[in-house]
Amino acid sequence: MDFDLTDDQRMLKDSVDRLVADTYGFEQRKQILKSPEGWSRDNWQRLADLGLLGVNLSEDQGGFGGGPVEMMLVADAFGRGLVAEPFFATCVLGAGLLRHTGQVDHVAAVAAGELLLAFAHHERHARYDLSHVTTSALQTGDTWEITGEKSLVLHGDCADKIIVSARVSGAVGDEAGIGLFLVNAAGLARRGYPTQDGLRAAEITFEATKAEAVLSLDGFPIISRVVDEAVAFLCAEAVGAMADMHATTVDYMKTRKQFGRAIGEFQVLQHRAVDMLVQLELARSMALYATMMASDDDAGARGKAISAAKVQVGQSARHVGQEAIQLHGGIAMTMEYKVGHHFKRLTMIEKMFGDTETHLRRLAGLGTAF
C-alpha cells in the first residue's frame, strides 16, 4: 500500500486545484449560481480542456486514463470549491453507466465537453431502495418505449441525453428485470429546480418515450456498481468540503476577538476544533477506503465498504458542519459566508444515495461491516 500520489496524480491534483482556485472564488461562484443555468459553460469547457471530463476514461476513449484515485482528487477539489457544474451527473453517473455497460459510443463526446448526461433512476417512494423501479419499458418491434415518472434527477434539466432505468420484467423491488436505456432529452417533459446546495435537479416524465439505445436489459448490477463509485466520489467531495470548513473555522478563531482576545484562546473552543479535526481525519480515511474498494468486483465486499464509508462521512459531516457554524457564531448563518454553503452541500451529500441511517441499517442487517 502506498498513500503517496504518483507524479501524474500530483500534476492532476495541482491542475484541478488551480482551476478551482482561479474559477471558483466565493464571489465568482455566487455569480455562476445566479446565471440562468446555475453553472458555467465556460468552466465546463475549461474542465474539458484540462482533460478532467474524461479523467477516468481510457485514453482510446478520449480520456485521461485515470481510475478511482484520480476521481477522488477531482472530488476533493470540487468539494473545497463547491463546484456547481454537472460533473457528478455527467461524468460520474452518466459516463460511469456507459462505461460499465460497454456502450462507449458517446463517452468521447462527454470527455470533449460536448455532451451532458443525467441518470433518471429515483422514483417517488423508492427512498433509498435502488431496485424500486416502476417506470416501464415496452418493446414494440425493435424499439423500446419508456413510460413513468422519475424524480430528483441531478442536473436532469440541462442534460442532452438521459440514461433511464425502466422495468422490462418482474415486480417493483425486484433486482432482476431492470433495463437501462438512453433517451434523447429533447422533447421530454422536464421540471427543473434548484436544490438546497445551489445545484440543479429535475422531475422528468416519460410518456411512451422512444429509447435511442438499449444499454442493458439486466441493469441492476451496473446501477449498483456505478452508485458505489458515485458514493465514493461523494465521500471524497465531502472530505474536501469539511477540510475547507475546518481550516476556515480555525482561521476565524484565531482572528475573531471577543472579551479582549481571540476566541481561539479559549481552551474549550480549541478542543472543539480538535474534535472536528478527529472527525475530519476519520472521514478522510474512510473516503480513501471507499476509493480503494470502489472498483472491487466483489459486489458484496464493495457494498459493505461503501456503506461503512458513507456512514462515517455522514456522521463526520454533521459534526464538522454543525460545529463550524457554532464556533463562528452568527456570521456563519449568512449566505455571505462560505461555511454555510459547505454546510448545505454536506447536508445534501448526506441525503444522496442512502443517508447515514439507511447505510447503518443495511450494515446492521448484514450483521457486520467487514
Binding site: 433509498y128 429546480y193 474549550v268 452568527g330 449566505m335 447536508t347
Partner: protein
C-alpha cells in the same frame, strides 16, 4: 411535594387549548405546523386575537394587561400555545421591551408604548448586537451623545431580527466612554422612521431574510426616549434577558414538531412497511422524546422556584433549559430530515411554497425540512450562545 396538576390547572389547560384551536385561524397554525413562517400580517393578526383575550402578555404587571397567574399557569399557557402552533407573541415586544418599560420606563413611556406593544400596533426590534460585540455585548460601540434635548446616535447594529418590519428599535448605546464598559451603556428607544436609520437585509443560509444590519448615521431622537437612568442600560439588558427564564426551552414547539414527525413517518413508505414501524427510527424518535420529558420536568422545577426569586433576576438554571432546549429543537430538525430523506433536496422560496400552483415534490413538508435544519442552527447561537450558557453555569452554579 405533590407531583400532579390540580383540577383547576387541568381545567385551565383545557380552556386554553380550546381557545387556541378555535380562535386562532387554522390557516396560520397550519403554516407553522408545516415549518413555514407566519407573515408580518399573520403575526399581527394572531397576536391581536390573543391580546383581545388577555393572552398576549400574561406575565406583564396586571395594570398593564398582565394576568395574575401562578408560574405553573404561565408554563401551561406557553406549552399549549406552542403545541397548538400559534405564533408566539412577538418576543421583542412581549418578553423584552415591554417588561423593561413596565419596570423602568417613565409613566409617559408606559402610556405611550405598552398597550401598543401588547397589541402589536408597534413592531419592536432588538438593537443589541454589533459586528464586534456578540457574546461580548458590553463592548458595544454604537454611541449616543447628548445634544440639548436630543440624543445623537452613531453606529451599527447587526443581526436585528425582523428589523425590516419594525416601527421601533430599542438600542443599547454607549453614553460614557470613561468608565468600565458595562457602566457606560444606556437603553434608548428609536423610531425606525427617524432620518439616518438604514436597514440592510442579511440573507440567512436557509434562503430567508429574517435578520438585518441597522445603521445609525447622525440619528437624532428626543432625550426622553431614554429608558430609566443614563448609563444604567446594562442592568436593564440583564433584567430583559433574565425575564424570560422558562420560555426559552420552547418545549411545546418541540412537542408539536415530534407530533408532525410521527404523522409524516406514518405516511412514509419504507420497503414493505412504513418508516414509523422501523425499530431503528423509533429508537431515535423515542430517545428525543425522553430527552424532552426530562427537560419538561426540569422546566417545571425551575418554574416552581420562580416565586422565591426576585423579579428579573436571572436564574442560572435557565441556562440548563436554554442548552438542552436548543439541542432538542435542533434534534427534531434532524429527525425530520431523516423522515424526508432524499426529498430534502429541492429548494423553493417561501413565496413559491405559499403560492403553490405546482404539485409539491415528495412528501408533505419536504420543502421546509432542510431550511428548518439550517435555520435552527441559530438557536444555539443567539440569546447567549450555548458556550456562554455553560460559562454562566460554571460560574454561578459550580463556583469556578
Amino acid at each position: 411535594m405533590d407531583l400532579s396538576f390540580t383540577a383547576e390547572e387541568r381545567a385551565f389547560r383545557a380552556e386554553l387549548r380550546d381557545f387556541f384551536h378555535t380562535a386562532v385561524p387554522e390557516r396560520i397554525r397550519r403554516k407553522l405546523r408545516e415549518g413555514l413562517h407566519a407573515s408580518r400580517d399573520e403575526q399581527v393578526e394572531s397576536q391581536q386575537i390573543l391580546n383581545a383575550r388577555g393572552l398576549a402578555v400574561p406575565h406583564w404587571p396586571v395594570a398593564w394587561g398582565g394576568q395574575d397567574w401562578s408560574p405553573i399557569q404561565t408554563y401551561i399557557y406557553q406549552d399549549e400555545l406552542q403545541q397548538a402552533s400559534v405564533p408566539y407573541p412577538l418576543s421583542f415586544n412581549c418578553a423584552m421591551v415591554g417588561p423593561v418599560i413596565a419596570e423602568f420606563g417613565s409613566q409617559a413611556h408606559k402610556e405611550r408604548f405598552l398597550a401598543r406593544a401588547a397589541n402589536l400596533d408597534d413592531w419592536w426590534c432588538q438593537g443589541f448586537s454589533e459586528p464586534n460585540a456578540g457574546s461580548d455585548l458590553a463592548s458595544l460601540r454604537t454611541s449616543a451623545k447628548r445634544d440639548g434635548d436630543f440624543w445623537v446616535i452613531e453606529g451599527q447594529k447587526t443581526w436585528t431580527t425582523q428589523g425590516q418590519y419594525a416601527d421601533w428599535i430599542f438600542v443599547l448605546a454607549r453614553t460614557d466612554t470613561a468608565v468600565k464598559k458595562q457602566e457606560g451603556i444606556s437603553f434608548i428607544l428609536v423610531d425606525m422612521k427617524t432620518p439616518g436609520v438604514t436597514v440592510r437585509p442579511i440573507q440567512t443560509i436557509d434562503g430567508g431574510v429574517e435578520v438585518n444590519e441597522v445603521w445609525f448615521d447622525n440619528v437624532r431622537v428626543p432625550y426622553d426616549n431614554l429608558v430609566g437612568q443614563e448609563n444604567k442600560g446594562w442592568d436593564y439588558a440583564k433584567f430583559l434577558l433574565g425575564n424570560e427564564r422558562t420560555g426559552i426551552a420552547r418545549i411545546g414547539i418541540s412537542k408539536a414538531r415530534l407530533l408532525r414527525i410521527r404523522e409524516l413517518a406514518a405516511m412514509e413508505r419504507m420497503g414493505e412497511g412504513r418508516l414509523i414501524d422501523d425499530p431503528h427510527f423509533r429508537e431515535k424518535l423515542v430517545g428525543v422524546e425522553i430527552g424532552l420529558k426530562a427537560l419538561e420536568m426540569t422546566q417545571l422545577r425551575v418554574v416552581a422556584q420562580e416565586r422565591s426569586l426576585p423579579r428579573g433576576k436571572p436564574n442560572p438554571m435557565s441556562s440548563v433549559l436554554k442548552i438542552k432546549g436548543s439541542e432538542l429543537q435542533q434534534a427534531t430538525t434532524e429527525l425530520m430530515l431523516d423522515v424526508i430523506g432524499p426529498y430534502a433536496a429541492p429548494f423553493f422560496t417561501d413565496e413559491e411554497l405559499e403560492g403553490r400552483n405546482e404539485t409539491p415534490i415528495g412528501p408533505d413538508d419536504a420543502a421546509t425540512a432542510a431550511p428548518m435544519y439550517f435555520n435552527w442552527r441559530k438557536i444555539s447561537i443567539y440569546g447567549g450562545s450555548n458556550e456562554i450558557q455553560r460559562n454562566i453555569l460554571a460560574k454561578a452554579v459550580l463556583g469556578f
